[in-house]
Symmetry: D2
Subunit: 287 residues, 4 copies
């Protein structure tokens, strides 16, 4: 599936600062960047690199004396997704989890799974299979948390959202991740572009490691699980922030788009199919 | 410097559970394990591996039907430390920090640097050099936070300690890390064995990435900086927990020791020397 | 109903301090103290008075140079309770609530009703009558929060308990009060002696102002609603603390008892009756 | 001193709701309302009453079917203030505090004095006299907390402000109150009109009970202590809220003014005088 993604960010700069951006589409076995263009105006110095221990692509940029920065990214990305019949997904105990997934069992800044243990087991502990548990978590959040733009801040965490019950995609993801980890299911934050997201914006959802694969879920149900372009993966938004600012820089505009290439045909997962099928955005472990 | 470290842990097991332990001395360019012995009684199955993206050595262990577990670790560890004249340490701006250090700029479960920004800049922002800033942070915490055994819990974070002003080594480290990150200084949690620590126990302190090297600091001032044996490194205690329990297991005993080998001579850093000299437990980047 | 209540408190005193105790049975139109005895050993100076704006009876006591204090209270208390058929309880809108009840609509230290609004309305907003709402709150807490001795501290508030889901009577009461206030139902904290409470201790529960009367509820379901002897009433435990310490005093012993007088007969409310009957410990407003 | 105060509030009403307003100037021995006018447009039903246990004047108002409400209050208020030479103010220990002041020793929703104890004693414990302590608290807050409009929300409490170090008058008052109570100094919230406040708005500051009188302080230093018209007094903003909404009502406008009557002459306290003189807005206890 070929998507054309674009983002435009504008910043006012008070004094020379450093920006770290994570808006580039990730490259992986299941997602290739066919072409891309990244421009900064005025053309200040920057470097691109992979973050330590992940495939997130960071841009580090010094504003120099620029007073305004206009940043533009455009890419053509070929994304594969994989459908797994739910029946074939194994329940893997902690003792046999992939070692690479273990760090995603622990609490993080916005996902205090250590404080949500009893609640998580009360609500979802009776369900046998981790996949069922995660699906029940998604349903519960969708039913109990209202999507309200502007109702939360960058300080809001899962511990707040579980009680305050409003938030945006980031908050939905954090709460879901915290509940999964509390149930010993590795869970991580997913930031990306999303096809047909209304209104267009960056999107956050989450992945769980079940049966040997990272499966993707969206507690907001605003995005197609097979219409996502991965930017970054992390423990939570602290790891996969779109922009980290060191100095004094103020965002003034953000514009995001994700379109299907003209010759492509997008088939959303039918509700019926979604019930019996899990989605993975990674090459599936079929060992 | 050759240290003999030992730890003994005992657990009561309610039902078959999984334990992940991180009590093995790390192996690195500056720390080698000369010999070691790890035993579990009764002898249940376990595996050893490095955690994803770090050199922490984890044991994953299934209790099986055992009702009690007695775990014993003993190692002879050769530790090197490096002294750097403070004068030679460069101030490196965020724009030029080692990429490997960047993840340690972000907030984590117990180190909410994002909420401590204004406080950190008010208290320490006037100091020019990051090394001076960290030393001032250590002094401030030592002066303002009291070491009180039992005054905190596993839920206590830097945001609490900065106001409540009591804690144990873990809390001291978390607060220091959060303040450093708030000042754009990469900081990470250090868990280890400590020579002549009173009373003997596992110890936590922290490292900052300054001038291209990870330098070690201890806001409790209870340990010799050149008398530490590294177990683990992480963003905070969530990453470098000595024991993570999946199931129902209760710790009943913990006994830790760290002795100098008989033929070795330990020279503590004099207070005078400590003023002009930084300590690194890693091979120093002299590029 | 005649109850004999006793409490014995012992304290170690580090330096001359002041104690404020609230362990005396309240006097009111529906509760009279037939006889009582309060002794402090050694016999230091104290005064008794009613707290500002309530009928709570405080003892203010200066330890002087005493190193140990042994405090003993015994009283014979005649308590009336009133049963109201649920059917006869009116739903009174905020616009017509008794003015005296209005302060109990606002959030307090341990009852952050302002943060629980959406949750409360989601869970209980569909129920029409305030009495039904409160009963549903009691059921929900009883079902979802586990009574675990020692699981909380004096810092624990409703905002914690709603997620952490363990606590003791104080925490159950705080959560219930917060949820009631969030639904615009005046609610206050009740501290008292409780007949047949197992194990014997001071007890906390709560009262709601519905249909013109203060009705009593117990989310722990550990006490008989018609077997309570009121000590104090307040917005939460901050107002109705059994002992407030100004100085350095450490409690070393606490022993509480509540017995029926030999010639009295106690008839607990049957489960059936409890369904159709509300209990008030105050003279009922029959205007 | 004669002040003419006015306030205008406008609300959009979604469905029939109840409002409780506390914008009327208080009447007391030292403040008399010479004339006043309160209008609601459209003219819906309302009642005025004193809140339980205080002299705050509440308006309770039913919106009925009105879709918009325009509320207007105007009063001519005669305010007395009293200057006390600091030297004459006694330090009264808790054991001898006025009973009426005791409730203001305990923590409340926004003033968690119980969590700030160690910090308060570390910072201010060395000062002997309660008046000195409070003055040092005012100085410390003024120096360490920045007044930033919009930096906080109705959820912000002293526990946040002490670390986040920004806020508005309400936050300054809450932090000061919490620190005072932590030091066993009774402290309460003061809401009022303030002469020459820039920009004109309702103002919040605080009073401490020292030497038998309630003395007024302002940690923002934005108001003249002898230019205040009292609206309400309470434990914190939860008690002395200008408007409490029960239903669905949205404030759309707020306009406040406080002018000196033409024939009056206002003499601000000189900085020099302020150093040696305390201000009380209540009749002074000269017993």
């Amino acid at each position: 599936m070929l998507f054309r993604v674009t983002s435009q960010l504008e910043y006012d700069v008070r004094f020379p600062s450093t920006l770290m951006l994570n808006i580039h589409a990730q490259r992986s076995a299941s997602q290739s960047v066919v072409e891309e263009r990244f421009t900064v105006n005025p053309p200040v110095a920057f470097e691109e690199f992979l973050s330590q221990g992940s495939d997130n692509r960071f841009i580090r940029l010094k504003t120099g004396k620029a007073k305004r920065l206009s940043i533009s990214y455009e890419a053509l990305v070929d994304c594969q997704f994989h459908l797994l019949p739910v029946k074939t997904i194994n329940a893997v105990p902690v003792a046999e989890l992939d070692r690479a997934a273990l760090p995603y069992l622990f609490p993080s800044r916005y996902c205090q799974s250590d404080r949500l243990g009893r609640l998580a087991w009360d609500l979802f502990g009776d369900l046998d299979h981790p996949y069922e548990k995660v699906r029940a978590i998604v349903d519960w959040i969708h039913e109990n948390v209202e999507y309200v733009r502007g109702s939360t801040s960058s300080d809001t965490s899962a511990y707040d959202t579980v009680t305050q019950r409003t938030g945006v995609c980031r908050d939905f993801a954090h709460l879901a991740i915290a509940l999964c980890r509390a149930l010993n299911i590795p869970a991580r934050y997913f930031a990306g572009y999303a096809y047909q997201l209304e209104p267009a914006d960056f999107h956050a959802c989450f992945e769980c490691h079940i049966g040997g694969s990272w499966l993707v879920f969206d507690a907001t149900r605003l995005a197609h699980l097979n219409g996502l372009v991965r930017i970054g993966t992390g423990r939570d938004a602290a790891d996969a922030s779109l922009a980290s600012i060191f100095g004094s820089v103020q965002g003034t505009k953000i514009q995001v788009d994700c379109q299907l290439e003209p010759d492509q045909k997008f088939i959303p997962l039918s509700a019926k199919r979604a019930k019996s099928t899990a989605v993975s955005l990674e090459a599936i472990n079929t060992a």
